[in-house]
Amino acid sequence: MTQTLDVLDADRRFTADGSRAKGTPTAAEHASATKFGTFAITFGIAFALLYTIFERLNWPLFTYHPVSGRIDFWREPTGVGPPMFWYGWLTLSVISAGVIASIATIISSQWISGATVFCCVLAALWPTSLAALRLFIDAVSFNADFLDSIWIAAVPALIGAVAITYFAPSQWVQRAWTSWLLIVPIVGLVILGYSLESWFVRLR
C-alpha cells in the first residue's frame, strides 16, 4: 500500500480501525481502484501536455491523405490533396500518455507528483527561455545568433524545473497533484488557441 496515493479517495472507503464497512470494496478492489485512479489522473495530465507539444512541434505518428486514402508514417505533407495530421497527434498522444500512466501505477506517489511538477514546469520554462533568448539576441549589438537554439534554451529551463521541483514543499506538491488535471488542458488550449490567431486576424 506504500505505492498508493493518499490523495485518492479509495483509501477513505475503509474505516479507521481497518475493518471493512458493509458495501465497501475488498482489499483487492481497493488496490485496483487506486491503481486505476493513478492511471486515469496521470493519463489526463500527460495526454494534455503531450498533445499540446506534438501539435506545436507537428509530430504526428502518421499522416493521412484523404484524397488518395494513403497513410504515411510520421509527417508527410506532400501527396495528393491536403494532409491530415490530427489523427497522428491524437494517436501518438494516447499511446505515449498510456505508457506514462502505466509506469505511474508502479512507482510511488511521491515520485509521481514530483515528476508531474517537473514535467509541467519544464514544458512551461523551455519555450519561455527560448523566447527570452530570442529577445536577448534581438536586443544586443553583437552577433549572438549561436544562442538561438532549443538545446541552449533547455539548460536554464532544466535548471529552473529542477530547482522548483526540489524546493516546492512536498505536501503542496502532493496535494496539488489533481489540480494539474485542469491546469494543463486549460493552459494547453490557451497555447493552441493562440497558435490559431492567424485565422482570426486575416482580412476578408
Partner: protein
Amino acid sequence: MNLVLYFMKEDTFWSILLFVHFLLAVSLLAVVTLQAVAVLMPARQMAGGFIERSPVPAASYAAIVVILYVLQALMGAWIYVKYRTYVRIPMEELRHFKTVGSFEFKEHIVAMGLGLLPAYWYFWQQPLSTEHTNVRRWITIFLAISVWYAFVVGHLANDFRGVGS
C-alpha cells in the same frame, strides 16, 4: 464502404452520417448539461437533517457521458475526412477564415476532453469522494463546455456545407 455506396449515393451516405452525428451531439449535450447544472447547484441540506433530492442524479450520468463522448469523437473523426476535402477547401476559398479557425480549435478542445475521460469516469465512481468534489465539478464543467463549443462550431460548419444547407 463500397457495399453501402452500392445502395445509396455518396452524398446521401455522408448526410446520414452527419445526421447521426447531430443526434448523438444533442443527446450528449443534454446529458452533460444536466450533470453540469447538478454539480453547480447541488442538493440543499434541509432542516432536520433531511437532504432534498437533487433534480438530477448526477453520478448516474457519468457512464452515458463517457460512452456518448467516445462515440461522438469517433463519428466526428470519421466525418472529419469529408470536412477536410469537401467543406474546408471551399471555406478557405470563400475566405471564411474565422469558421476554419474555430473548427481547428474544436479539434483541440475535443481531444483535451477525450484525454480527461478516464479521470472523469474515476471521479464519478461510487461512493463519491468528498475530497474530490472540486476537481469532479470542474472536469464536468470542462466537458460540458467542450461539448457545447463543439456543437455550436459543428453547427456553423454544417450551415456552410452540410445537411439542409
